[in-house]
Amino acid sequence: MTQSIFERYGGFSVVSRVVSDFYRRVIDSPLVSDYFHGVDMRNLIDHQTKFIATLMGGPASYTNEHLARVHAHLGITDQAFNEITILMRETLEDFDFDQTDISSVHAEMMSRRPFIVFEPSTAGTT
């Protein structure tokens, strides 16, 4: 059995650092920080820890239905989603993850785009 990214990089110990760094970048980014106004930080960290663990093949899998439900009312744009994927890529780069692992996490995120982006009738995604 091949190990998941989650296991190879040292399990929760590394994921928690990634989450913490990623969270800082998200809050600092003018493109997405507005989405987090008034959001309970404890909840957000809880979700991001589980979500990032999921992306890396760790425990606590989020179903797509669940993702759709929690993002539905946020009206997340393509631009905001892209910014998040870039921030994630940069975070993983700065943690010296392998390019192949970064790509695989990126692909995992992209596959969930339809359940997170809920921009009503704007330019299509290409």
Binding site: G11, S13, S16, R24, E90, D94
Partner: protein, 348 residues
Amino acid sequence: MTVEDGIIRQVVQSLSSAVAVADTISWELSFENALFFSWFESTDEHATADQRIPGFKADRASARMKENRPYGFDTVIEVRGRELPIRVEVRRLADSEEVALIECTDASKVQEIQYMLDSYSTLAERNARELQKERDRVEKLLLNIMPRAVFDELKDYGTATPQRFEEATILMLDFVGFTDMAVASDPSAIISELNDIFSSFDRIAETFGAERIKTIGDAYMAVSGVPEANPDHAANIARTALRIRRYLERRNAAHPQEWRARIGINTGPVIGSLVGVQRYVYDLFGPGVNLAARMETISDPMQITLNEATASLLEDDFVLSELGEFEIKGFGSQRLFRLESEIRSFRV
């Protein structure tokens, strides 16, 4: 220098972060505050940011600055003989493409919390692994006393419903004169031998697609076609019976204690069910089982006896010899056969 410049200078020098300004390509420093100077000491006054700050990747930093994206990482420095975890943040200063602000903060509090988290998560992960190991062990134990399909049903629904199997072949085995053997010789030695023999039977049954259902004293019961249907149930049991007999013959030739078995076989529908609440036993019921037991009782020592139900399924591939009509209690008149051997078809 104006008064305001002087104040700003004092503020920057007394910040609790180490701050420096650097060129985004060469990473030469054009300014650094006192803390930066003391944290990243260097004998070379022209040392660049990547030479001063351990873990600083100049190429990556330059690429990020070009895109006006932040760059950040954690590192560790040594201050007065003590390790100090540092968070480094690099971003472009205002709109200038050429100048970057490097800000380094003491991350020891964060690090402490991180270590606590690590210690706790290691504990939790170990507990989870141990729990999983324990679960696997319980599963293995339960699989010893019930078939996998029944176990899965029990696990998912908390109960397993009795199931009828239309096509199954049952093997019943019993040792001739076991009670006398146990009394005459050393009982514990006899039981230990019996255990060896039954374990070998289990392996034989498994090899030929059959499964042991239970043992009662010196009686052994195996089945094929339960709980997964198997079109070869009769042949599987016939092969199992022949191998068991051969195993006993060989064993008897090599051991002082002789074990002679009667084997009965019957084919018919059976009900499989888990019995018991606290102490589970998976068992088979129905006339199919009873008739197999009658076949065993009527069998001669070291012979395998069966009736037409099984014989009709075996006659193409096995050598059978007819024993004639017998009156079987509860089942009327039955034509009985002896299973002699398997016909080996050699394909070229």
